[in-house]
Assembly symmetry: C2
Homo-oligomer: 300 residues x 2
């Protein structure tokens, strides 16, 4: 007999509920997903989707142009200029981030081609114009958290801004001390407990929606901050392509549960108050970074 | 040039501040640690310390008898009966837990020897009698969070209880649906974003204080809930011993920063409002599971 710690069928992270009281009582997440309609699911826009090919398989990143349009555009240009092909994972810091970049010294850096070397910061943006679906639960860091188009986010009504938050699997543009030095040439993925202190300090421009388990197990680097100190420790990136540039029959047919549906509202309530028999104490609340965003591979 | 995402020198997780206002302004965590006195550090009690030996190295777990005295006693008995020696890691679920157990079918289960097969639940306890050092910051799940003897914890003044919380690296006793079925024969470690919905549902009885990076990179299992479905996927546990039973010259000389010191109070304030030049927006708050608990290996 296996003693299990129940986490249900979390496939990835992100979602939300605007009206928890409306959720049907007594349903588990599995019940909610089983009752989902075809229209509750969405596919990815191939112009907003990166395929990162590693020896271990494919990692898929959904881009977030609503939050970081310049970074998304610059990363597209870098990808189409084959900037990342042949670069490596350079860093894996336990309970923090995995990062890839050109490991070469400054004098031998790979050209960014037609991409930009500097971008003005995109750490937050006006909340106006975003469809923000709010969680009712309190958050340590932000006045309010919720979801925007499938990305975990926060907003502050006092100053009118909104920003994506650093949950597990979120993707950002590493930078130096100057705020304009993160053009997307060095990319990190959150691989540990949400480092929310990074919110509003760096441009998050996407999220790993498939293959996160390949990045999460990268051996932790022995140098400070998890950097690898020997070339042979670095895992090569075969290539990163826009899904739009990959032949249709080689694309991964993902479907993501929409965050603006009643099904999602029901799902979140099923996670705030677990109905699984295993749970004896219901949390009654949920952290934005504990909300699952179901992803499935569609059959042909 | 490496673009870095600053996490300072987090070595493990857990700590706290009772009087943030008293912390010296402008100090980074490195500054605070550099100024620590020898008396700010503690060593582990060898009777409350497990050494888990894997091919990749040693994992060290500090036990928490203040929270789960029966579970701690039962695990000691299991360890001294060599129950875990030769068992395996049976499960690694992405962004959730790593777990070890006897993978044998029920008919061939290893005997627990003099240990107990059932224990009454130790999911929470009276807050009275604990030295609880409270964080000032709001928490999604609990009325108040803080630290007790180096373990992240929560309490509820309304019902007078306290409990350890499921932060990264916390160690608990897996159970079946019945609450008395988790005697410490199947042990899990939190390896992802804090699954706080488990709080008060399961007995947490310790924390990995060294070697967490060895467990965190276990390949994710392909079966539901991250279980491995083939024997060859399971990583063997050479042995688990009480530190007290290991010759003194083979022990790892760890020192942990005390959580009941002014140095720790200063450290937490340095993390709530980062002074590092990289940070442009100071969080002003901290999640109990983002508070680092520095651990160092003492020189001889």
């Amino acid at each position: 007999m296996r003693k299990i710690i129940c986490n249900g069928l979390v496939l990835a992270a992100a979602a939300l509920v605007i009206d928890a009281a409306a959720a049907p009582a007594g349903k588990t997440m599995a019940d909610v997903l089983a009752a989902a309609k075809p229209s509750d699911w969405r596919t990815l826009d191939p112009e907003n989707t990166l395929y990162m090919e590693l020896a271990g398989g494919r990692v898929i990143i959904e881009l977030a142009p609503e939050f970081a349009p310049q970074h998304v555009a610059n990363v597209r240009t870098l990808v189409r200029g084959k900037y990342f092909d042949g670069l490596t994972i350079v860093r894996s810091q336990d309970n923090f981030v995995v990062q890839w970049a050109d490991p070469a010294e400054a004098d031998h850096k790979k050209s960014v081609g037609e991409a930009k070397n500097k971008l003005t910061p995109e750490f937050d943006r006006p909340a106006a114009g975003l469809k923000f679906v709010a969680l009712p639960d309190p958050d340590t860091y932000a006045a309010q958290t919720g979801f925007v188009s499938g990305f975990p986010a926060a907003r502050d009504k006092a100053d009118g801004t909104a920003w994506p938050v650093h949950c597990y699997s979120m993707v950002g543009a590493g930078r130096d001390n100057e705020v304009d030095t993160g053009p997307g040439t060095e990319i990190y993925v959150v691989s540990g407990h949400a480092p929310r202190q990074l919110d509003r300090n760096v441009a998050l421009f996407g999220r790993v929606v498939y293959g996160m388990e390949l990045l999460a197990v990268m051996p932790r680097g022995p140098a400070p901050m998890g950097f690898y100190d020997k070339a042979e420790q670095r895992v090569p990136i075969r290539e990163i392509r826009m899904a739009a540039d990959v032949p249709a029959d080689q694309r991964t047919k993902l479907e993501l549960l929409r965050t603006d549906t009643q099904t999602f509202t029901d799902l979140i309530e099923a996670r705030r108050n677990r109905q699984d028999e295993w749970y004896k104490h219901k949390a009654g609340r949920i952290d934005v970074c504990n909300v699952p965003l179901p992803v499935r591979v569609a059959s042909n």
